[in-house]
């Protein structure tokens, strides 16, 4: 009886606005994330405009590796959205495949980033080697933590899909996707800010 009562509490959901509650929650979370990365990027741009010698330091970054990593992350966004499309069409096999690919691409991004960091540190460009490097490691590090979080979430979803637990809650693929694409957008700006320009 009590258990049923508790269940009733959990199951009863309302959506006054017509927007699913989960989606609303993720978007509120993303709103605060936008300000976080927006603020950090602003601080970087303004510090760089006010400082000297940043371009010389930035020139030591490897543009090919950065480009490759951008490509990896862009592609993982595609696989993520294809997983969502498969979920909506009721294609569990597609969901599994595309989610697994997304997880692998996310891991690939992290591994490439790890190699990049270690080669930079090996060349003496540690976080304390200059203002640019401090920002570089902080920004890419914070972003990589977000990627890691996304990989974990996507992997859990993949496991759920594998065990057939995702049936009836396919919308979670969309929610995880919103976060994943946001992380992708952050990188879309970090790449030119750190690697390409000025």
């Amino acid at each position: 009886m009590a258990e049923a009562h508790v269940m009733a509490v959990g199951v009863e959901t309302r959506s006054v606005t017509g927007i699913p509650t989960g989606k609303l929650g993720v978007w509120w979370f993303l709103a605060s994330e936008i300000v976080l990365f927006g603020g950090l990027i602003g601080v970087y741009i303004m510090s760089r405009l006010g400082g000297a010698g940043w371009s010389e330091m930035a020139a030591h970054l490897s543009v090919p590796i950065g480009t490759l990593n951008t490509f990896v992350l862009l592609t993982s966004s595609l696989t993520m959205v294809l997983a969502f499309a498969a979920a909506e069409k009721g294609n569990p096999k597609g969901v599994r495949t595309w989610l697994l690919l997304t997880v692998l691409l996310g891991l690939a991004f992290l591994i490439i980033k790890g190699f990049e960091w270690s080669s930079e540190i090996g060349a003496g460009f540690t976080p304390t080697a200059g203002a640019f490097w401090s920002f570089y490691y902080t920004m890419t590090g914070l972003h990589a933590l977000h990627v890691l979080g996304g990989v974990v979430v996507n992997f859990i979803l993949f496991l759920a899909a594998l065990l057939g637990l995702l049936r009836g809650s396919e919308h979670r693929v969309e929610l995880a996707g919103l976060y994943w694409h946001f992380v992708d957008i952050v990188w879309i700006f970090l790449f030119p800010l750190l690697y390409l320009s000025w």
Partner: protein, 563 residues
């Protein structure tokens, strides 16, 4: 059947009380942690006040206080009161308890996220508590943590204490971000049938505006805190000029958050007042819509005023006047809210139980806080009063009014709903008069000290010739502050005594209109027997069409009037 029994029988102690997903239990957990920290913060204030009145003498019950220990006291008092008392009590406790009840929902939108939020906060509290006991002591760079003082251990002599301080704040922010997601989605999506946004109680409006302000302002500070921690631990120089950094950067990031944060605390406190005033005036709140528009205007303005904390910090002087103007303009929306509260009293039928006394006390105290803000907002006047006790007195008038007066009003008012029993009126009124009297004594004295030029955060005013004639004021403030602390004893007795032996409360002891009063006292898990249907706005008191002087939101079959 009381909910407590049901919870105990069917969920066991751990799921019922500790790892509970029920928003009411979570609210009580926030309240308990917040009240614990309030006691700690109050004791720190006692130590500081003693040192200021009788410098370098033994504090009764403690011992001698050195200048470095005093700096730690200042820092931790501010941190605790803002982040670990005001936030958990006003948002964590009242927001969590009231939002689902007032919107007619069975729980928050994400109950498990809510549990995660309170436990993240508990962890954050633990980290802050540990920071007192690490070698070097707790953080001592001011609650604003300005680098370079905070960026290098050698400047303060505090090493891990300050790192843990940053960590505790980061966890606290994460906790309230999770809470904010819940507040917003619950209000937007889980409202009961018939409950449009313009029928929401104003407290809910205030809580969600606060949640939006918090979520949109805290991001840059989180980034800034990561950078500060990197400076301390990794050795970068984001804020250190010798490595190309800039100390002013932190001030921008801190106050970009810090000023909206003031309203994050203020608005829920005003929301409590706006709920209580109509109930005990037996009148609709005056100007429901103008109040909402004022709230939104104040929220937007709060993002463009932050540099008024930095007028003399080396800020580009051209920036000062725009910020001075926006700051002074923010008096308009708050003036409208105060006028609306006063207009609510007009031709009411006003009674004075304890919650009403505290609500009116909040009004009086907040009025002084708001008016003295104009002095700080005027850039030239700020040149003189910046970093003096005038500022200290000003922000205690604004923040003490909501954190304590409004919170006490809320506790006396919703105690029957939270715990199913009434609080004692005699003790309550005694508590109010002691608090009101001694609060004003303490902080009027501080205004005068500030005008005399006494700087903030100095451990010994007797070291300055120009402050020595003011010393009797310091002694006066200290005696008053000790009496203010002792004045809280009736509350503590009342709280615990009423918890076990208070008069059992009925469903709607104050004859109020909002939805929480149509749930049992205390509400069971799931809150309502049947989900209420809303027919009208929340403040239909003394409506001409009914013989009683109240008309609950969910009572059908009466022609709708007003909002």
């Amino acid at each position: 059947m009381s909910a407590r029994v049901e919870v105990e029988e069917h969920m066991g102690f751990w799921r019922g009380y500790v790892f509970s997903t029920d928003h009411k239990t979570i609210a009580k957990q926030y309240l308990a942690i917040g009240l614990f920290w309030a006691i700690v913060g109050g004791l720190l204030a006692y130590l500081m006040r003693w040192q200021l009145a009788y410098p370098d003498t033994e504090v009764p019950g403690w011992g001698f206080i050195g200048a470095d220990f005093y700096t730690m006291l200042v820092t931790m008092h501010g941190t605790i009161m803002v982040f670990f008392v005001a936030m958990p009590i006003l948002l964590g406790a009242f927001g969590n308890f009231l939002i689902p009840l007032m919107v007619g929902a069975r729980d928050m939108a994400f109950p498990r996220l809510n549990m995660l939020s309170v436990w993240t906060f508990a962890l954050s509290s633990l980290v802050l508590l540990i920071s007192f006991f690490v070698p070097g002591g707790a953080a001592a760079a001011g609650w604003t943590g300005y680098p370079p003082l905070s960026a290098k251990p050698i400047y303060t002599g505090v090493d891990w204490g300050l790192n843990l301080w940053i960590l505790a704040l980061a966890l606290e922010f994460a906790s309230f971000l999770m809470g904010g997601v819940n507040f917003l989605t619950t209000t937007v999506n889980l409202r009961a049938p018939g409950l449009s946004m313009l029928r929401l109680p104003l407290l809910v409006w205030m809580q969600i505006t606060a949640a939006v302000l918090f979520m949109l302002s805290v991001g840059p500070l989180i980034a800034g805190a990561v950078m500060l921690l990197m400076d301390r631990v990794v050795g970068t120089s984001f804020y250190l000029p010798e490595g190309g950094g800039d100390p002013l950067l932190w001030q921008h990031l801190f106050w970009f958050f810090g000023h909206p944060e003031v309203y994050v605390i203020l608005l829920p406190g005003l929301g409590i007042m706006l709920e209580i005033l109509p109930v005990f005036s037996r009148k609709p709140i005056f100007g429901y819509r103008p109040i909402i528009y004022s709230t939104i205007a104040a929220g937007i303005l709060s993002f463009v005023v932050w540099a008024h904390h930095q007028f003399i910090s080396g800020l580009d002087p051209r920036l000062a006047m725009p910020f001075s103007i926006t700051t002074i303009f923010i008096s308009v929306p708050f003036a409208l809210m105060v006028f609306a509260m006063i207009a609510t009293l007009w031709r009411g039928s006003i009674s004075f139980p304890t919650p009403m006394l505290f609500a009116l006390g909040t009004l009086a105290v907040f009025l002084v806080g708001g008016l003295t803000g104009v002095f700080n907002g005027s850039a030239p006047v700020d040149i003189y009063i910046h970093d003096t006790y005038f500022v200290v007195a000003h922000f205690h008038y604004t923040l003490f009014s909501v954190t304590f007066f409004a919170a006490f009003a809320g506790i006396y008012f919703w105690f029957p709903k939270m715990f199913g029993r009434m609080m004692n009126e005699t003790l309550g009124k005694l508590h109010f008069w002691l608090t009101f009297l001694f609060f004003n004594a303490v902080f009027v004295a501080m205004f005068l000290l500030g005008l005399g030029g006494m700087m903030r955060r100095i451990a010994n005013p007797m070291q300055y010739d120009f402050l020595q004639p003011l010393q009797p004021m310091n002694v006066f403030a200290t005696i008053a502050s000790i009496l203010l602390l002792l004045g809280q004893i009736p509350f503590v007795i009342n709280f615990f005594w009423s918890l076990v032996a208070g008069e059992v409360a009925e469903r709607n002891p104050w004859q109020a209109n909002t939805l929480e009063w149509s749930a049992p006292s205390p509400p069971p898990h799931g809150n309502f027997e049947i989900v209420p249907v809303v027919y009208r706005g929340p403040y239909e008191y003394s409506h001409p069409s009914v013989p009683e002087d109240w008309l609950p939101q969910d009572r059908p079959a009466v022609p709708t009037a007003g909002v």
